[in-house]
């Protein structure tokens, strides 16, 4: 199947909330527009062979940074949204030269520990984040005098953000940079012997993924209006892993499909909220046992066309 078809399908699916017209389906769709950039940017790291579990921590940094800038300093929301993303990217750039020295399992464990520690800081730095009681009273997003109040407005903004980030990541996958990233995973020695600066590319991927995560976090903060450290904890990591595994990691279309399938799940499980986590765990296990390559392999979607 050509990769364009699923993308067209997604565009069609994105119209469903208007068809249903109720607020709850707009909410679900808006959450999907936050999770798609998160999952697809995590996929960028997976593709270079370095699964980063600090991803939700970067989302949290972006969220708290942009919320606090608007609340305490009075920066216009759009600017604080950008600053949140840049802050997350800057922290990523600061730690990248150390983190990316190590690979494989060590990297996963280290980023996991980093994420949990950032989460602890969010819980304990009460004067800044208000700890586990949550940071509330975040003003609504506004840009050029337009104030976004209804869920529909946020959905529209989320669609723009998703389209932008997906476009960038897809373009990277298709371009020569995509080849370099792929080679970092498959055979780094060859890349380096051909003069590629593997470390620099790796840092670039890490910083870009943190930037996207940070902006998604800021968007989340303005949309929900309440931040708790719990949002950026283990649950969110599991969500992203489930989305990537079920969608398939070989192409950025995988997590796109995964997110569209997984994010509405809470709606279907509304009567069995306690069982949600259980169902996530079981789904993840089943896909790993039987459909290791995810949906993209089931649908035969190829990320990069094989060149002769």
């Amino acid at each position: 199947m050509k990769p364009v078809y699923p993308v067209i399908a997604v565009v069609v699916i994105s119209g469903i909330p208007w068809l249903l017209g109720d607020r709850y389906s707009f909410h679900i769709a808006t959450m999907a527009t936050i999770m798609i950039p998160m999952a697809t940017s995590m996929n960028l790291m997976v593709k270079i062979g370095q699964l980063s579990l600090a991803h939700v921590a970067f989302m949290g940094m972006g969220a708290y940074c942009s919320a606090l800038l608007t609340m305490r300093v009075g920066v216009p929301p759009f600017l604080s949204l950008l600053s949140g993303g840049i802050f997350a990217a800057a922290v990523a750039a600061l730690f990248a030269p150390i983190f990316l020295r190590i690979k494989g399992t060590y990297f996963v464990l280290l980023t996991f520990a980093f994420g949990e520690i950032i989460n602890l800081i969010m819980q304990d730095w009460i004067s800044l984040t208000n700890g586990n009681s949550g940071l509330f009273g975040i003003p609504k997003f506004s840009i050029l005098g337009l104030r976004l109040t209804a869920t529909q407005h946020y959905y529209a903004m989320g669609m723009i953000w998703t389209a932008m980030s997906f476009g960038v990541l897809w373009a990277i996958e298709k371009s020569d940079i995509g080849v370099i990233f792929q080679s970092l995973n498959e055979n780094e020695m060859v890349t380096r012997s051909l003069g590629g600066n593997a470390m620099a590319w790796r840092i670039a991927a890490f910083v870009l993924s943190a930037l996207i995560a940070g902006i998604s976090g800021g968007f989340y903060a303005f949309y929900i209006g309440l931040l708790t450290p719990d949002t950026f904890g283990l649950r969110a990591i599991v969500d992203l892993l489930v989305i990537n595994t079920i969608g398939g990691v070989s192409t950025v279309i995988g997590p796109l499909l995964g997110a569209i399938l997984i994010v509405p799940l809470p709606e279907l499980l509304r009567d069995a909220r306690e069982y949600q986590l259980l169902i996530y765990g079981v789904c993840l296990g089943v896909f790993l046992m039987f459909f290791r390559q995810g949906l993209v392999a089931l649908l035969r979607i190829e990320g990069r066309e094989k060149r002769p």
Partner: protein, 284 residues
């Protein structure tokens, strides 16, 4: 003050060592990162909560049953879910995430989200080199030392233990020498879960028990294992003691969160010098 810091550090370090050992053992032998390791710790604590806290059985009987329960769960889970993915690092790791999530939500459904405390089996304190040591922590430390020495003798002197070392050094050569790797996998995963279950069971009266209690424990185990070197048993012991002492110092002087941040800082510093950890071998 310094004596107190050292004593607290050693008491905490011994439990960290047990957690890190089980984790590093599974990685060394199976090349599987067990993200569900903390959930076996939680299982151990939950069993003690039910048997000792609710039913009133003797504490050490409850601890032993808790360890065995965790070990049996581990053996079954390993056979069904982990064995098919054993040589593939990433899918294996994500599978343990799935197992951890499932166990956590299982505990949530059974016991609810609230944290509980159970009565302490030992109370009072005694003095050692000018430091105050609570009796309950002392029992944990003695039990931990006993477990560590048994584990060490097992690895060093039994045929199975030697076979486990052989598999961790070189799987293929070991299998050429007639070591059945599937049996070794079952034993080492079971043993790792036994250690985690015992650690959780021993700590149950000291910290609050809840479905999420495994999370922080596993972060610390990761930090220790990265510091000591993945798959290295002496590395886990050394790393556990270093982190125990470092956290005890910072926790006394500042607060527990700062302690975890400080130990992470130590690990980052080590990684700059030695990316494979203090005693790690080059993996991949």
């Amino acid at each position: 003050m310094i004596a107190q810091i050292v004593v607290n550090g050693i008491l905490a370090g011994l439990v960290y060592v047990i957690m890190a050992l089980g984790f590093t053992l599974v990685f060394g032998i199976m090349r599987v990162v067990n993200f569900a390791h903390g959930e076996f710790y939680m299982t151990g604590a939950m069993v003690v909560m039910v048997l000792y806290g609710v039913l009133g059985w003797p504490f050490f009987v409850a601890v032993a049953i808790a360890g065995v329960t965790a070990a049996l769960m581990g053996v079954v889970i390993e056979r069904i879910l982990i064995r098919p993915l054993v040589t593939e690092e990433m899918p294996g790791m994500i599978m343990t995430f799935a197992i951890g999530t499932t166990l956590q939500s299982g505990a949530l459904l059974l016991f609810g989200p609230a944290e509980r405390n159970i009565p302490r089996p030992f109370s009072g304190t005694w003095n050692a080199i000018g430091a105050v040591v609570p009796w309950d922590r002392t029992t944990v430390a003695v039990a931990a030392l006993l477990i560590l020495s048994l584990f060490y003798s097992f690895l060093k002197f039994t045929r199975t233990g030697l076979a486990m070392q052989a598999v961790s050094q070189d799987r293929e050569t070991a299998s050429l020498m007639g070591i059945e790797s599937s049996m070794i996998y079952a034993v080492s995963f079971g043993m790792s879960c036994l250690l985690a279950g015992l650690a959780g069971a021993l700590m149950a009266p000291i910290y609050p028990i809840g479905p999420y209690m495994g999370e922080l424990v596993i972060v610390r185990a990761f930090v220790i294992v990265i510091l000591g070197g993945l798959g290295s048993v002496p590395g886990a012991v050394l790393g556990g003691m270093i982190i125990g002492l470092c956290e005890s110092a910072v926790a006394t002087l500042v607060n527990p969160t700062a302690a975890l941040i400080a130990s992470f800082g130590v690990v980052l510093a080590i990684i700059i010098v030695r990316p494979t950890g203090l005693m790690g071998r080059i993996v991949r």
